[in-house]
Point group: C4
Chain length 208, copies 4
């Protein structure tokens, strides 16, 4: 459990537990927008398969948002192997991040509902726009945590430099998919998907 | 894990974990009332943007309740840096507090649904009324915990005095927004919003 | 974290964490059945208040089930101050208990929906019937845990005797409210409410 | 809390906590698809009982999926008594497993909705197909964790051999129920149910 030290910084235990809870719930609530098709009585196998097929945008949106939140959780998780004390500003940015993560089911449902409609590009732009906000909140939290050594595990400067270089790509990536959304919703969502799956699959080949 | 001591007081570990769970779930369930607009097939970008715009009361209600629950969690969290043992009465007040926090999605949905209707003031009064109950339950828990030193971390009297002065503002604030609701729903909700955001932003400037 | 010992018993840490999660989620999901009334546009304050008033069965059902789950959690919690090792049968009974707790939103919604209908007694009987199942699963878990000293904290026999006497009232109580449901739904639900609130309020007067 | 060691492996604490959260939420969300029947006003006891009876597919689907997720949790849990360090590939497979577990409410709702319809066999095949995916993800995680001793608790080779033999039955079982679904939905679901209940009841007779 955390105790406040003389300089106003605290241990991280319960913040991690609460954040884990919010991440775990947000990621699990995504399934509520994957709806079972409602067919009239007596509909046969072919009708059901066709109806399930028409629901593909909701499966893609589910996959995309699940993997995105999971990657955010892994990154959040990694931060806490380096940050071992927190202060009020860190709590604030963490709160903003959690609010944006909790909000993910909304742009996800929007994308799932409108990806095949004339307004697909708007839905895709909002989806990427929300992802930009998430990556910016993450950046703000990371920068605050690492600007001095006060909150860090001793000797983690080298790792901080490595991760700072890596986390820079997040906002850049989503600004790209946001811009692409004005050209084509499919290109924008496709690139989001490639990006998140690539990042997730790295886990398989990454040494160690 | 907690073990009951000879005088009937216990360690706080699992109560914190359970409370964190309830806070995390209540805060994440708020998104379920931010609904994706349902447009007829073929509706274009402009229709979608207009429909999303009309949903602004649900975004404001989401923001307000998310930040309110987050602030309550931070305060709950702070209490447990001072309280290190609990008794039955403490558990009771904590239970009341958790019940009220879990109930937040209801007044939130009410506010979101009726803020633009003739009954807006009723919805705003119920929202603030519920916030009064939350702040009173919090007060009761805090007063019970701090009336003697039995449940406290040794040497925390000074911090108790400081926090008691601070927590006094909660009920006062919500009584004000409750009274204002009978004049204007907008004034009432606006002040709630200013109050919670101010409190949250303090985190950025607060030293340490 | 738990490690399996030579005799097949384990530490309890992660089972407690998982159980806490299920309790916390089940208790928080109850709010999803307290619905905001849907009025036609232009409905005024009086209409809203009247519609909210008509929803009182859902508030009562919410209160009753919230307090019931909370009491079950407190008891579950107390068991783990005495049980410090678990075996397969304990895990099994705990699983049954969690399944029944997770199911609580269903009889709650049934009660809330039909308490003012001609079928109120059926709804009340199902509600109490489900509570009987919960209390029996709890009994089975408790009896398995305490029949030998193998899983207990050393020196807890006296506390076991005290709690066994106390837990005996649960099934008896709900069998009574179940039987009463065939006479009057109101009497049955009223007694459930009195029972759970009495049990919860004990916390305030209980010494220590 | 986990710290990254020199060889890129980490402690398991927070991964367990996050996974527990996802399991606990997925298992508790299943109740959202057990719907209270909606009868017209004035419907009597007999109508309600008949309507509740017609909902039996949703109770069976609830029971089946609840016990399935619970068994997966127990197994996941057991893995972590043997695995005490994790690497990126383990995290990846754990992520896939959690995504599939979170998805369970969808095939469950599908089964519940279509088990009495002409398309029942499709629903049963999808249900078992999803269970195959879960058991394969579990296998992949288990094989990765146990192929060398790097991530294991020292001296757990014997237990690994025993569990590997046991876990082999999962995919085999679900391939069987998947194939059976093309013959009869009832046979397929019945066998799933027998299998999961048998596995769960083992807990009662299992020594220790």
């Amino acid at each position: 459990m955390e105790r406040e030290a003389a300089d106003g910084v605290k241990e991280t235990g319960r913040v991690e537990a609460f954040s884990d809870g919010v991440f775990a719930i947000a990621i699990t609530l995504l399934i509520l927008d994957v709806k079972v098709p409602e067919l009239s009585d007596g509909a046969g196998t072919r009708d059901l398969l066709r109806a399930l097929g028409r629901g593909w945008t909701s499966y893609v949106a589910y996959l995309l948002s699940f993997v995105t939140i999971l990657i955010m959780w892994v990154s959040h998780h990694r931060i806490f192997t380096i940050v071992r004390k927190i202060d009020h500003a860190f709590l604030f940015w963490n709160g903003i991040l959690l609010m944006l993560i909790s909000f993910v089911p909304f742009p996800t449902a929007l994308l799932s509902r409108y990806l095949l409609e004339p307004s697909a590009r708007t839905a895709a732009a909002i989806y990427s726009g929300h992802a930009i906000l998430i990556s910016l909140a993450f950046q703000a939290m990371w920068r605050h945590a690492t600007k001095t050594d006060r909150l860090l595990v001793p000797g983690s400067r080298h790792e901080v430099t490595r991760l700072t270089a890596r986390y820079r790509f997040g906002p850049l990536m989503y600004v790209t998919t946001f811009a692409l959304a004005f050209v084509s919703a499919w290109l924008s969502v496709g690139l989001c998907l490639v990006f998140t799956l690539f990042y997730a699959f790295q886990g398989l080949t990454h040494k160690g």
